[in-house]
């Protein structure tokens, strides 16, 4: 997966509301229609980093099937960060498309 995009995906997933790591991993897989395969382990360093930057916050909660799990939610700073990152991502995608399909008009 592209460097740095995992952060963006995690933040976007949390827009829907608080979720724990397991849910986030599955959500990314499902919503990309299984194109993006996340090795679940690699999610946690990303979560740690994001929390360190105070873009997300965490708390212990109980999962739908009654297991204790750590939930993450987006902070206001994280929301701002997400908007910025999406903007940058769109720019990147447009730039790359212009390069690889120069004469579409």
């Amino acid at each position: 997966m592209l460097q740095g995009t995992l952060d963006l995906l995690v933040l976007q997933t949390l827009v829907m509301g608080p979720a724990h790591g397991h849910t986030i991993a599955h959500a990314i897989e499902h919503r990309s229609e299984n194109v993006l395969q996340v090795e679940h382990g690699s999610l946690y360093p990303a979560l740690h980093r994001l929390e360190d930057r105070r873009w997300i916050a965490s708390f212990w909660g109980t999962s739908e099937n009654n297991r204790k799990a750590r939930y993450y939610r987006l902070t206001p700073a994280g929301r701002k960060q997400l908007t910025e990152q999406i903007g940058r991502w769109d720019q990147l995608v447009r730039a790359i498309s212009r390069i690889i399909r120069p004469a579409t008009e």
Binding site: H22, H40, G41, P45, H48, D52, S63, N65, R67, A69
Partner: protein, 876 residues
Amino acid sequence: MGWSRFFRRRYWDEERAREIQSHIELETDENIARGMAPEEARQAAHRKFGNVTFVREEIYRMNTIGFIESLWQDLRYTFRSLRRNRGFAATAIITLALGIGANTTVFSALDAAMFRPLPYRDPSRLVTIAWVAARGSAEQVTYLGGASLQEMENWRAQKQIFGGVEPFSLPPSTGVEEPVAMVYISAGMLDLLGVQPRLGRGFLPEEGLPGRDQVALLSDSYWVREFDSDPAILGKTIRLDSRVYTIVGVMPSDFQFPPGSKPNAWAPWTEKVESNPSIVARLRPGLSNEQAELEAALVSDRIHYSGRVPWAKMTPEFLPVSDRLNSWLGFNRNARTALLIMMGAVGFVLLIACANVANLLLSRGAKLQREVAIRSAIGASRGRLVRHFLVESMVLAAAGALTALLLTWWLTHAIPTLLPADLRRLFATYELALSKRVFAFTVVVTVLTCLLSGLIPAFRAAHGGVIGGLIGTGRTAGVPRATRRLHIGLQSLQVGLALILLCGAGLMANSFVRMTLTDSGFDTRNLCLVRVSLPQSFPKGPERQAFYDQLLSIVKTLPAVQSAILAAGTPTSLGFGTRRLFAEDALGAGAEPWGGDLLFVGADYFSTLRIPMVAGRSFGPEDRPSSPLVAVIDRRTAEHYWPGQSALGRRFRAGSGAPWVTVVGVVASVKTPSFTSPKGVQIYKPISQGDGVVGSNLIIRTAGDPRPVLAEVRARIADLNPGATVRTAATFDELYATMDAEAAATPRFYMILMSIFAGVALATAAVGIYGVLSYSVAQRTSEIGVRMALGATARDIRRLVMRAVLAPVCAGMIAGVIASLWLTKLLRSLLYQITPHDPLTIVSMAAFLLVVSLAASYLPSRRATRIDPMSALRVE
């Protein structure tokens, strides 16, 4: 990365582990829900997750600062391994503590004496004024002394040069050795210095006038000592200098004035106190010393200076008060040289200590070969291993430094009581203290020590190959060749440095012995000196001489007196002068001009003292005030200026334009207070040509014990003039005993210090030789076993082992001798009657060192011969 995460990284690790655990359980639950068997579900969850440990490690690393983390590991590991090897740790730490401690102590003395600024505002702008005759020529002479009131006023008017000029004076009765009780300073002096009393006030301007001057400022230590820090001291009275003063203030504890002197009290200087005071001036802001001197040269003709010599142009020179060499401190060039030499000596001691610790670390590194191999096999980089070993030597050096600071702290408190008088006076003012500079110095020295002692062993230890280290070839192959070479190099270094210090100590001891063995140069038996001073009210000039002449004629009638004479001085008062002797003829003028002092004596001076006449004549009735000026000089001077030729009839003078004086006689040199300085001339002139010099020193030779005569003379003096004070009444044997003790105190101190350093160096080097050899014998046990099994005798083995010592010892001694020849030259100014290249000293010290080295290698070599071949070979 936040610091909070760093310090709570263990907590976070556990937290993430729990989270990961819960993740896997959730996944397992889902897998089971999809219909997998529980065990299969768990494995699938793990597969999906990836390597749990790897993820945890990644997060843990995010929480740490890698460098600090591994440094902390190294530190903990080092502490553990040093605790296990207490003997090794103690040896290394004590060695380094001695080395660093010696450096810190000597540096704290150097710091106190040379680097610490004087406690005044902007002390570099404070100067005192000297006058220089014939500046820039070979016959340049500098005159330092008091200024007349008119000269002081003239200087005060030079506003373009000075921001202020203030006088001070010492009480006239002060001897050189006694601590000064009271100093007179002008009312404006404290403002000039920029110092305020800690209690009360300074002097008011009107207190600088006679009649209003009965006020005093106390020194802090006197206030504490005598008045128990009484806060209500102001307004009380105190008796000083036979007058009563009202105390108006107490000075801060670091205040000293004049620089280098901490009297009990200061009183206002008035014109009545001293009409020829010393002066201190503050240069106008923005003016450098050179600019100020140029400005002063322009106006120097308009300055009234009473000491002008007729034969040369005189220009003022401004000597910075903070320049310790020129201050009133009496801290002379010799003392500075000696301190710097001691600094060098302790530097060598530290180098030897470093070499020793490096040797220890090398041996230890070789023992740790297997461990190093394992660590590098599981992925430790070379740099990481080097750092680990450096951390170890840093810990040793730091522990050594801490011990050293304790040692220094104790020594700086103990030292002042051990010092000779001149240094004690110095350090009474510049208290030894662990200043910031001393701490900074210690830190720098410690880091250097760590690198010097640790770098090579660290690289060496980290170098060992994985395979070789794991197989453990150590036992069969003995010490690795590269390590052995390093050992030899370090041992040579130690031996060489120790030899240099031994030579230094040997030379100083030799010189000291010569100093104490030097006799007076004349017959002091039954010879005594009486010095009488007359009250101030007694008329000056011829009346005074008449009094002494009368005294002389009375003394001559005493039955036990063989002969008695009057002179303007004595041998024990010679040798403090700075006037230089310039010869007229080409041969003499080619010699370096020496300085010295002159003595006005009568015709029978030499015969009474029994100073041998070497050539020419003594003075006679033909030497009248109007006849050509004549002089008798001592043999050493004659040989210096006119080597191999007769000095008789030669002429010399005290500077260009001064009258020429003809040498009419040469006498043996006598021992004077400055006899240790090799460049002193002894000049005698007839008292008849002395232009009114008063011969007030009565020298008496008696038939028997002079002491009853002295008592008799005292009584006669009291009869003659009850107001006269007997300053001295002693035999020359007593005078010389006192003088020798004073002259020898400083050389003895440096000799002892140097001997201690050399002793420590020698002991450390011996321990080094012993340690390395013991280690090598242990490593070669099996080799020696094989040799013995093949028929080598104990003698062969001993020779084999001791040969290993000879190489480094010989190499070190050769290098040491060469370095000594070069370095001991620096000692020249401290040596008396011995050249720095004295072959006997160098050879005997080298022999001594060889004997000690062989003694140090004896035990390990004997241990080698005790090896049992059977058990040595069975270990394989």
